[in-house]
């Protein structure tokens, strides 16, 4: 579904991603962890070309992301993204936030788009907030709207960049629950998070990054109990303090 083949990325002189090789299958839930500045967000943002790669090959569903001939807007329909800071449009109601892309990108009728939006709002547990504005919602509710907004495009892949990091602790659970149910339904998910409980419970695979490299990867049970690499061991032991 997603394939990195010898991918490198530089910001000017700075080598952010170093020879990334990674294959993510359809339906797989991959969690990316690692210290701050290790390149997790950059890796994630390359998948929908919010960042461009410098060299190597990156394909999504067989389509080359970097190719100039690729219609990036078409590719992006299939890739939902959820951000740390929600990024809801403050001047639009919740419903309008969710229906904007379906109407403008997928050319859904407003009625059809609203029905889809309500379906996903139901799913994330806040159908009663359809007419509210983002500023009237709690952080947890805003993030659930953002997830519903991503899902309303019926994507094949969902990307999450620290979706719970900006939330008050009591709201983390409600967002993780939505993500867990999504994972159970077979959505392909790539999640950057510091929530190790979530990784342990839901991930099919954990990727550990440091200094722009994938240092270690494996199934969560093995990774969390017997990490092979020294850097991963250090990172995990620091988390436990």
């Amino acid at each position: 579904m997603i394939r990195f083949h010898h991918v490198n990325k530089h910001y000017g002189q700075f080598h952010v991603l170093k020879d990334i090789n990674l294959e993510i299958q359809s339906g797989e839930v991959v969690v990316i962890i690692g210290p701050s500045g290790s390149g997790k967000s950059t890796l994630l943002r390359c998948i929908n070309r919010l960042e461009t790669i410098t060299d190597g090959e990156l394909t999504v569903d067989g389509v080359s992301v970097g190719d100039r001939k690729t219609n990036i807007n078409e590719l992006r329909r299939d890739i939902g993204m959820v951000f740390q800071h929600f990024n809801l449009y403050p001047h639009m109601s919740v419903l309008k936030n969710i229906t904007l892309a379906p109407i403008r990108v997928s050319k859904a009728s407003p009625k059809e788009a609203s029905e889809t939006a309500m379906y996903y709002l139901q799913k994330v547990g806040i159908p009663d907030k359809a007419d509210a504005y983002p500023s009237q919602l709690s952080g947890g509710q805003q993030q659930r709207v953002a997830i519903a907004r991503g899902l309303a495009m019926k994507p094949k892949i969902m990307l999450f960049d620290e979706p719970t990091s900006a939330l008050d602790p009591e709201m983390v659970g409600e967002v993780l629950d939505v993500m867990k149910s999504l994972a159970k339904e077979g959505m392909t998910m790539v999640v950057v998070t510091h929530e190790m409980g979530f990784a342990r419970e839901v991930a099919d695979r954990v990727i550990f990054m440091d200094h722009g490299q994938i240092v270690e990867e494996g199934d969560p049970a093995t990774f969390f109990t017997q990490p092979k690499e020294e850097r991963a061991r250090q990172f995990l032991s620091r988390l436990n303090h």
């Binding site: 890739i79 951000f83 449009y89 001047h91 904007l100």
Partner: protein
């Protein structure tokens, strides 16, 4: 003291005042439209990803807004004839004033657009919206709130700055006031009355901008 404010001037010369008023109005509308169009274009240059356009936009803004308006108007009025382009005072003044104001408008628009968090643009683009759709549905509706107050100020400044037409025989309010003054020597009255005609333009403009601001503030 009695002739400090001599109302008979206003009465005797009302036709002259009104003549100036309509020329000032016409010049302001012309310069306003020109400055807005140029301002939008330069603002787009300033936020463009193309380096040369950005450079041009910056050079334009910094050059234009840091020189006196009078110089710009003189270039169009006195300077261009030397290269064979003859503009009447209306065109020369209108171009000078429009170009001058466009630099300030470009800055107001650029600041408004850049006040919209980058994350909103990323959210929109990652959902498949094009650049133009993102501008239209996500960025501009938010930017307008930020842009409107400085834009209103610039338009009010523009109306006041149109008095520059007086220097190039533009027939505007200022020009007519100078004529009335040279005939009557009632300087204080003449100029206080002409100020009233400027207020006739600027106060409604200011009220209109306030009204729009209030409406937008209620929107979300």
């Amino acid at each position: 003291m009695s002739d400090l404010l001599d109302i008979s001037i206003l009465i005797d010369y009302q036709d002259v005042y009104w003549k100036g008023f309509f020329i000032t109005l016409k010049a302001s509308v012309f310069a306003l439209i020109l400055s807005f169009i140029l301002g939008v274009i330069i603002a787009v240059f300033r936020i463009s990803t193309v380096k040369s356009l950005r450079w041009f936009g910056t050079a334009y803004v910094e050059y234009i807004r840091n020189i006196p308006l009078l110089i710009l108007v003189f270039v169009f009025y006195n300077g261009l004839p030397s290269i064979g382009v003859n503009l009447d005072s209306f065109m020369a003044g209108g171009l000078g004033l429009g170009i001058y104001t466009s630099a300030f408008i470009a800055e107001a628009i650029r600041a408004g657009i850049q006040s919209v968090p980058k994350g909103h643009v990323e959210a929109a683009r990652s959902s498949g919206l094009t650049y133009l759709q993102t501008m239209r549905f996500v960025v501009l509706p938010q930017a307008i709130k930020i842009v409107l107050p400085p834009l209103g100020n610039q338009f009010i400044n523009l109306v006041k700055n149109s008095s520059i037409f007086g220097v190039i025989a533009g027939g505007d309010l200022m020009y007519q006031a100078d004529i009335i003054n040279s005939e009557t020597f009632q300087t204080v009255s003449v100029y206080l009355f002409v100020a009233l005609f400027y207020l006739l333009l600027t106060i409604p403009l200011s009220l209109f901008v306030n009204y729009l601001e209030r409406r937008l503030a209620r929107a979300y």
